[in-house]
């Protein structure tokens, strides 16, 4: 017993040293836990400014999106039989709907863009994060961010369908087609096939009021700040289609905006900006911190697996200890040593 105890203590000492080598780094790091460096906006990042106060809820963008991306019409179960199923009435983005207009309703709904007794529209689609969670979690690089335009695209040929992009996206954007035997992930890719032909993303192209406005993120940011700075109710020339694209705009009074420009800093920043008359939480735009969770997760991984040093050190220690143990075990295990002789004879 005494012998065994001593041997145990010796083993334990070795193991503790090994463990210390491997654990010391992450523990130190965790005390002053460092997320990975935040990512910055790509040089020619394109994006969208969605102005909820301009949106009239016509859903032309939803229809155009379906056409441009070859997505089928979708109805809630209660409307499935209506008009032979040709009427598209998606309630939210899904495996078959890449963008959607949702409505906020309160009380008598007397006035647009008012929180109490009012209503408001909001558009749901990918925000093309600066530091996207979907890219960080994807094990097979199916999600990619264009280094120039910053558009987040999805490659179904790489995708294994693990759905961690769906799970991890703070905006619940990527959607898997659960009702298909060979389903795929659907998400807005900002009509990058149309942009390649010099066209606008379908939703911004058809928007009659310029509520969905395409452009460079920097320009859109400046435009949004101009609108926020202007006196509510004063007349303002709102552009349509593409910011600075030369299409005729239209004159309308400036809305009563919430002071918060949503999408600028959320989750480490995105390439979409939301101007709303109703607080964004009421419109299903979640309250998020200014950092990306991808930076938190990757900070942890990069600390633990930096140069694979900690795992290799741990492995070395483990093999050393296991080797010594298995030697001593063999000596005192009669069944094993006879086997050994039997095997080597």
């Amino acid at each position: 017993m005494d012998l065994e105890r001593r041997r145990f203590l010796r083993g334990a000492a070795g193991a503790v040293t090994t463990a210390a080598a491997a654990v010391a780094a992450p523990v130190n790091e965790a005390a002053a836990f460092g997320p990975r460096e935040p990512k910055t906006l790509p040089p020619k990042a394109v994006g969208m400014l969605y102005d909820s106060t301009l949106c009239v809820g016509c859903k032309a963008c939803v229809s155009a999106c379906k056409q441009a991306n070859g997505m089928p019409a979708e109805q809630p179960a209660s409307l499935a039989a209506w008009n032979e199923g040709t009427w598209d009435a998606a309630e939210d983005i899904s495996g078959k709907t890449l963008n959607v207009i949702r409505v906020y309703q309160n009380g008598t709904m007397a006035e647009k863009d008012r929180e109490q007794d009012g209503y408001a529209f909001v558009k749901r689609h990918c925000l093309h994060c600066v530091d996207p969670s979907c890219i960080s979690v994807c094990p097979v690089s199916a999600m990619r961010k264009d280094p120039v335009t910053g558009i987040v695209t999805h490659n179904p040929d790489a995708c294994i369908g693990c759905r961690y992009c769906v799970y991890g996206c703070p905006f619940n954007v990527p959607q898997y087609q659960f009702d298909e035997p060979f389903g795929r992930i659907s998400k807005c890719q900002f009509c990058n096939h149309l942009q390649a032909q010099g066209k606008l993303p379908a939703c911004c192209d058809v928007c009659p009021t310029g509520a969905s406005l395409f452009g460079l993120v920097e320009d859109l940011q400046a435009e949004a700040e101009r609108r926020l700075a202007a006196q509510p109710g004063t007349l303002y020339e709102f552009p349509r289609g593409k910011l600075g694209g030369g299409r005729p705009g239209h004159e309308a009074p400036i809305g009563h905006y919430q002071p918060h420009l949503y999408g600028e800093k959320e989750a480490g920043g995105t390439q979409v900006r939301y101007l709303t008359g109703v607080p964004h939480e009421k419109l299903g735009l979640p309250k998020l911190p200014d950092h990306s969770y991808a930076a938190v997760s990757e900070g942890m991984q990069h600390t633990l697996y930096k140069g694979m040093i900690a795992p290799l050190a741990l492995f070395g220690g483990l093999v050393f200890l296991a080797r010594r143990s298995s030697k001593t075990h063999r000596d005192e295990d009669p069944a094993r040593s006879t086997d050994e002789e039997d095997a080597s004879s």
């Binding site: 836990f33 294994i160 979640p286 969770y293 143990s325 095997a343």
Partner: protein
């Protein structure tokens, strides 16, 4: 204490319990077929709000923790050089072999684009920042290591003629000589992927309740995997000893249960220390759904510590068994909470698994138990048995 060498148990394979398990396997198989023919929505309640359902949480996140017996025992026997526990090593390893292998199979049911699964091994698709990528590769490697570690059991049972024909005795000698390398891997790999199962949740951010979301997730998942590993060894040993009337390992299990209790104390210390440091402990008593889940979970973690704190209660088989069940339930609930119950994706999404969805998991678990029974009856896994007394040729 038994120092007898492992032996096959013998006896008929198809018994009544085996047949009942088989029925559940067939039911599960029927729904698996439906899943592949008609898509996941046909059998599962998973949605784009809750895209990770019971298949991943029960079969992989909890299932692999139940498969950590081999990992936990190897740490004790080989790394801390506690050879007294050696009789528990091989059955623990077998539990790990099936726990992990079937978790791997269950993933194939869950993957939405399973035909692309091999992309995980293609270097040009590799995404090294992804925690899931680390988990996937590490689990695959560990399944391989587990089978290699278990391989001597096959070799010992193989007729000498076959061994000579295929020169397998050389393999046997090789494995015996270099087994320590695989033992090292067999401890390293679970350390990596069990902690990563915690890191996976770091991406959830505000979707996961602050009672669970912490930088210490990797450490907490690692400790809980070890406690569950010891728990499974104790559970399995007690059940097998009773049903096959094997020599009792009571003294050994009493000792082992105290190791588990020590780890539970460590877990609770990290858990509460972190909550205090982040100033989130108040949420535990907020009275909402999350606080109730947290309190149940904590009670399940604390109960075994209280039971096992005294040596006298440790020696009591009934109490020890109770503590084991509580410990396993605690670890399972902790994982279930982090991945599912404490997640709120917003926009009114809810999730409760459908019956067919659960039947697939039940089927997979039944397959696991059936294979375990076949293996312990035909291969030298468990220490000396009644089969030995009845003079069964080995």
């Amino acid at each position: 204490m038994s120092e007898t060498a492992p032996r096959p148990l013998g006896g008929p394979i198809v018994t009544k319990p085996f047949a009942i398990l088989g029925v559940f396997l067939l039911i599960g198989g029927y729904f698996i077929l439906r899943r592949f023919l008609f898509g996941m929505a046909d059998v599962s309640n998973m949605s784009n709000g809750y895209p990770i359902g019971t298949w991943v949480v029960l079969d992989v996140v909890i299932g692999t923790a139940f498969g950590c017996g081999g990992f936990a025992m190897a740490l004790l026997v080989y790394i801390f050089n506690r050879n007294v526990y050696h009789p528990l090593m091989r059955p623990a390893l077998l539990g790990g072999v099936f726990g992990y292998t079937l978790a791997g199979l269950a993933v194939m049911i869950d993957l939405g684009r399973y035909w692309n699964a091999f992309n995980l091994l293609m270097p040009w698709y590799a995404q090294i920042n992804s925690v899931i990528f680390e988990v996937a590769l590490c689990v695959m490697a560990y399944i391989t290591v587990l089978w290699i570690e278990f391989w001597p059991a096959f070799l010992e049972r193989m007729p000498v003629a076959i061994k000579q024909r295929f020169n397998l005795h050389k393999l046997q000698v090789f494995l015996r000589r270099y087994m320590y390398v695989f033992i090292g891997l067999g401890v390293l790999l679970p350390t990596m992927h069990q902690s990563s199962l915690g890191s996976v949740l770091l991406i959830m951010g505000s979707k996961l309740s602050p009672l669970w979301y912490t930088q210490w997730l990797p450490l907490l998942y690692l400790i809980s995997a070890l406690t569950m590993g010891y728990g499974v060894v104790m559970l399995e040993s007690t059940l097998v000893q009773r049903s096959f009337k094997l020599p009792s390992e009571a003294a050994l299990l009493a000792k082992l249960s105290r190791v588990a209790a020590g780890l539970l104390v460590l877990f609770l210390a990290v858990r509460f220390g972190d909550l205090l440091a982040r100033g989130q402990l108040g949420r535990a008593f907020a009275g909402d759904r999350y606080s109730v889940l947290f309190l149940i979970e904590t009670a399940l973690f604390a109960a075994p510590v209280l039971i096992l704190a005294s040596r006298r209660r440790c020696a009591n088989m009934r109490l020890r068994f109770l503590a084991t069940i509580s410990l396993l339930a605690a670890g399972s609930l902790y994982r279930m909470n982090g991945y599912l119950l404490a997640i709120d994706p917003g926009n009114g999404w809810t999730y409760f698994p459908s019956a067919p969805e659960l039947m697939i998991t039940v089927g997979v678990v039944c397959l696991e138990i059936m294979l375990y029974l076949i293996f312990v009856k035909t291969l030298p896994v468990l220490p000396g048995s009644i089969a030995e007394a009845s003079g069964r040729p080995s």
